[in-house]
Amino acid sequence: MHPSAGVSVRVLAPPTWRSAATWSQVARLGHYRDLLSTLSRHRINVRYKQSKLGALWAVLQPFTMMLVFTAVFARLVHVPSEGVPYALFAYAGLLPWTCFSSAVSNSTNSLVGHAQLVTKVFFPREILPLSYVIAAGVDLAIGAAVLVGLAIYYSVPLTAELWFVVPIVAVLGGYALACGLVLSAVQVRFRDVGVALPIALQLLMFASPVLYPLRVVPAQWRTLYLLNPLAGLIDGFRRSVLGMPVDGQALLVGTAVTMVALPLAYVAFKYADVTVADVI
């Protein structure tokens, strides 16, 4: 039995921005935390259910990308990699990037992909995109095992900077969720989003310091460049795991943008959410 249910009166009324922007929405999500954990676990279980390599795919995806990009950017065009071997440099950037990109592309399709559920049962819909973001976080943890292996192989020093990883991953998840909430709600009305997304993500990868260091961005573009939270977050992730001092300014801008974007995205999602079943 839900603790608050049974006592309170639930009022179902036409959507308003005011009702979308209340704490009770988040509190409601709390009542459904068991569903969130069941669904997130389900994402991970089902994804590799009939595949032989199973969870190994979480590693293989960034790893093969790393091999390809190392061959191109380290051997052919010599991209600077801040004094660490390029393979390690690229993997430390690709790991958070693949986490972000799979979180966003899966959560964008989450509402449309669960149309059967959305039109049949009520539950806080944000659980769908959220469960994909959490599943992507688990993939990141699995992929980190290879990073540890590479770090040992290249004998990277262990420093206190490593602690930054925790808040960085949290903010990265928050930003992925913000993108996923907005895109999934728009995708319900305009399926163009799903078609455009792979291209947009490709562009975004090259507009973020995944395969090159943040430092090579020209000074006059830096402010604009940092408005993309991934710039600070991916660079920060790499620097902290590779034992380099993090770029505080870049991280701060990324965190600030996320902290503004996430509540706005959530309220917009909750506003659209109540009538999503009509148009899906």
């Binding site: 039995m1 009166v9 179902l12 069941t38 389900h42 279980n45 009538t275 009509d278």
Partner: protein, 414 residues
């Protein structure tokens, strides 16, 4: 104590207009634009619906397809929000809209109990506590540990209902979920609902199965074209609905019929002058009023009398007496059918009027559940009244030929 209040609830859907054809003015540019940004027509699935349900009440909702039953259910279960108005719920509500909601084919039955149960709003601990009961209720044996993609449709439904039946709601919405499974399982489902009912739960039962509605509910709401048509005791509402269905189904669907230039606007009955009541064996007139938007030639107007069960008893039609066509000028008008002695026995009957073209094309049906109440008049046994007289036989062994009342003994009409 009020459990649920629905106040002035309306729901509007937007239906895209058909994309313009090649002959449409504006040419390709306009058509291309209408593809990118199609225009929509408003469709009101519910219009100003208000009702309240008391705690512990079992309310049935019936009505033809498209009457707004499912929309009402979606609003109550919070799947979508109303366009105007509001709904107040005073307890935890669970909806049995479709059994097996949220099943994943790759997962085993047991895993799906957790998945589907939590989607339906159960806590994990609650599911763990009820797991054995759920599995026993489903009665699918060892299949509980097989992926549900290997299930037969019956097993799928059994497991789905077993989960839903173990929800612990204060308000339970049931939608047709019981029209599945074999008879033994259906009985189990009804028993479960009856048990919930006697445990004081509030039940809203949306169904086409009138027998179950009558059996399970304290009160029935009949929906028609997005509005509440009737709200009252099950026997009355169900009977009214049966009447409308019998009439509508037999004579063409009266809901949303196309405008073919003429429509029946009403049916009125009249008994003998000075006696408003209509009685068996007494003179009886019926008037069919119509409205023609343009002159229409050669039509046939019919009045059908049926039982509540839908059995046709009699038909009066304009071509039956003389085969002359009936030409309707534009405007309102009416025809009257006059009967010397009504043959129907005392009781209530459904009456349907319709206008057809001579070739049989239906122009309009009027089946607004009009009831004809016939009171006792001439004493008569059997199915219908048959006017007669009697006399002593005048010839020793032969029977005299019968004659019309107005006929002279030599067989000529006077």
């Amino acid at each position: 104590m009020t459990e649920l209040e629905v106040t002035n609830v309306s729901k509007r859907y937007w239906l895209p207009k058909p994309i313009g054809s090649a002959v449409e003015p504006g040419g390709w540019a306009r058509r291309a634009w209408s593809r990118v940004w199609p225009s929509y027509d408003a469709f009101w699935a519910l219009r100003n619906v208000s009702f309240t349900v008391a705690r512990g009440e079992a309310v049935g909702v019936i009505g033809p397809n498209g009457a707004g039953k499912s929309t009402l259910l979606k609003l109550l279960s919070e799947i979508t929000a109303p366009t105007t108005g509001e709904i107040r719920l005073h307890g935890r509500l669970s909806a049995l809209i479709e059994v097996g909601s949220g099943f994943h084919p790759e997962l085993t039955g047991r895993e799906n109990v957790f998945l589907s149960g939590s989607i339906l709003g159960m806590r994990r601990a609650e599911i763990v506590a009820k797991l054995d009961q759920i599995i026993a209720f489903a009665g699918i044996g060892d299949f509980i540990d097989a992926p549900v993609k290997w299930y037969s449709s019956g097993m799928y439904v059994r497991l789905g209902f077993a989960i839903a039946a173990h929800l612990d709601p204060q308000i339970l919405l049931v939608d047709e979920a019981l029209a599945v499974g074999d008879e033994a399982f259906q009985r189990k489902c009804y028993e479960r609902i009856a048990a919930l009912r006697s445990a004081g739960k509030t039940i809203i039962f949306i169904s086409h199965d009138l027998l179950s509605v009558e059996r399970l509910c304290d009160r029935v709401i009949l929906m028609q074209q997005g509005r509440i048509a009737l709200d009252g005791p099950p026997s009355q509402v169900v009977a009214a609905y049966r009447r409308a269905v019998a009439a509508g189904a037999m004579f063409g669907d009266s809901a949303g019929q196309a405008d073919r230039g003429v429509s029946v606007t009403g049916i009125r009955f009249c008994g003998r002058r000075g006696d408003v009541e209509i009685r068996t064996g007494f003179p009886f007139n019926v008037r069919v009023s119509y409205l023609a938007s343009r002159p229409i030639d050669d039509v046939v107007i019919e009045v059908w009398y049926t039982t509540h069960g839908g059995a046709v008893l009699q038909c009066e039609q304009t071509t039956a007496r003389s085969s002359d066509g009936l030409d309707l000028p534009a405007g309102a008008g009416g025809v009257e059918f006059c009967c010397e002695a009504l043959g129907l026995q005392p009781g209530a009957y459904a009456v349907v009027a319709r206008i057809l073209a001579r070739n049989g094309t239906l122009l309009h049906v009027f089946a607004a559940g009009s009831a004809l109440i016939v009171g006792p008049g001439q004493a008569s046994r059997g199915q219908f009244y048959m006017p007669y007289t009697w006399r002593r036989a005048r010839r020793p062994a032969a029977i005299e030929p019968a004659r019309f009342a107005q006929e002279s003994p030599d067989g000529l009409k006077v």
